[in-house]
Amino acid sequence: MSGSGTDPAGDRAGDPTRESADEPTGDAADGLRGTPAVRERLDRVEDPELARSIVELDYVDAIEIDGDRVEVRFTLPTAWCSPAFAWMMATDARDEVEALDWVDEARIELCDHMHGEEITTGVNARDGFGETFPDADGDVAAVRAAIADKARVSRQREAVQLLLDAGVDAEQIVSLVRSDLTVVEEEAHVDLGGLSVVVDAAPIADYLDRVTTSGHVTAPGDTLFLTPEGGPIPPEQLDVVQKRSRLATVNMGGQGAVCDALHRARHGPDGPDGSGSPSFDESAADGATYDGDVDEFTSTWTVGTDD
């Protein structure tokens, strides 16, 4: 990803119109306190539908720090975004920020959403989704699981392609188990019964991360690559599974484009705060059209950073 908004180190100097009034000064010297630290935690929170960071996606409107209390305000691309997804992002944001040892309490506010008040109240009161929405069917855990599974399917393709390109054949790929793989720094070692193939670690590590989160491939003897339904892949089916994996990626990218367009439509070109700081990379926006991968269009608008 070429997103420049994800790297706290790459943040622009603080936007003077957006500074947080109660920012503790002088404490940020080690880089572990203050807004950058909060942003770094928030960067781990994903929009579940897109499997991308809410910081990168520019959902975060403001971070305010008052001693050991942190308030985070965020807005989603549409007031109609699924409350279950909104709930996940809000609770994840709260938990991530509270994982900072200097933070005692994080308060999350979801702005401009059809269920903004209920979600804000529920999340800050530490209620469950079911208490906040007693008439909802099912629970958030089931939605999380479904989403994690989509991310797993989507990430499998690149990992498998890497092995195919390295000369590993379909039969071998479908019979790999977790313990056949070892990731050492930049390299992934694939044990093919005595023969070892070395490939770039990143796509493999990324896949392992997703597949574990999805609840699959947890034991050393578990089959490594799976159908979207979670079963073993017959070798002759590997090609169609790869195409379904591509499809999952295109789906997520398509939805990402929709969310990004709605987000920009809601906030205009000047960012959510109307501060005049650009909500997206100006060089990319110069042309009348851009051939739009959202990744190429990642915002450089940043929340009130301190220096």
Binding site: P83, V143, N251, Y290
Partner: protein, 353 residues
Amino acid sequence: MYEKDGEEIFVIDGHVHLWDARQENIVHEGGEQFLQCFYDYHTGFTPEEEQWDIDEYRHYGADRMTEDLFGNAAADMAIFQPTYLDEFYDEGFNTTEQNAELAEEYPERFVLNGSFDPRDGEEGLRYLEHLKEEYDIPGVKLYTAEWRDESKGWRLDSDDAFEFLEKCSELGIENINAHKGPTIRPLNRDAFDVKDVDDAASSFPELNFIVNHVGLPRLDDFCWIAAQEPNVYGGLAVASAMSTHRERKFGDIMGELLFWLGEDRVLFGSDYALWNPDWLVEQVINAELTDEQKDEYGVELDVETMKKIMGENAAELYDIDIEEKKRQFRDDDITERFDLADHYGGDAGAAAD
């Protein structure tokens, strides 16, 4: 009618609305949020010079709609897809009856679909019969994610829904347009679900299931189901607008659809007034796949494919004889009103089919 590479492309816009979101019609804050959300979709995927202001977007009226669709022959015909939303809008947002005012003025140009909600029970079945009798509807538009009292939506594969589909089959209402896209008011049940189309489609092989918005954000589930159910179709509303600003994403989606469904089961729709065929049709017709996409998907977005997507596939579903229509449109009311005789006067059609 458009001409591309010397071929005429007859355009049937498969997804249009005549809605009313004026303040006086809104009775619930959801109605205002809904319209604002639509407006974000509009501005997000409309070239700047084609954007409307919010007031004309709330209510544009039959006259303007006629002009937008047909004034420069952007579309040759259009299919109404009603959206009731009675809880939000006093008189409804875009009902069959509201759409009928225009559809009945130019019956040769419009197809008028109805709607049902299985939660209406016996009364709903009577209403469906009434719609058939009154308007001879060839299809219905359905919103499975709509809230109603205690209910947070319904499923196409439920017993109640099957009773209505049974009735559709009996009445000859063949085209079941299901909104499976951005959800209307979902909590969690419907957030990821397009799967109920699967069982319904295999249980009613005599009906056609057109999944609007190609299931986005569930394109993957949708394509996989459609690959196995030959009576499942993809409606391009919303997806087609991605040809604005997002050409490559649009190309990917078209590549997937053509790969999994083939060129006979994808239907263009503008979702007017979300987007205006006035400019969107031309943009979609001129959309191209990159070489990389052509290689990846092994498909082409050539004129023959475009002719199917933009009109022929809908004509097949709604029993429209395109050649007959071209003859009829040489001097119908719309052609007289907008001076379109040139568009339908040629003999080019005779060579086709």
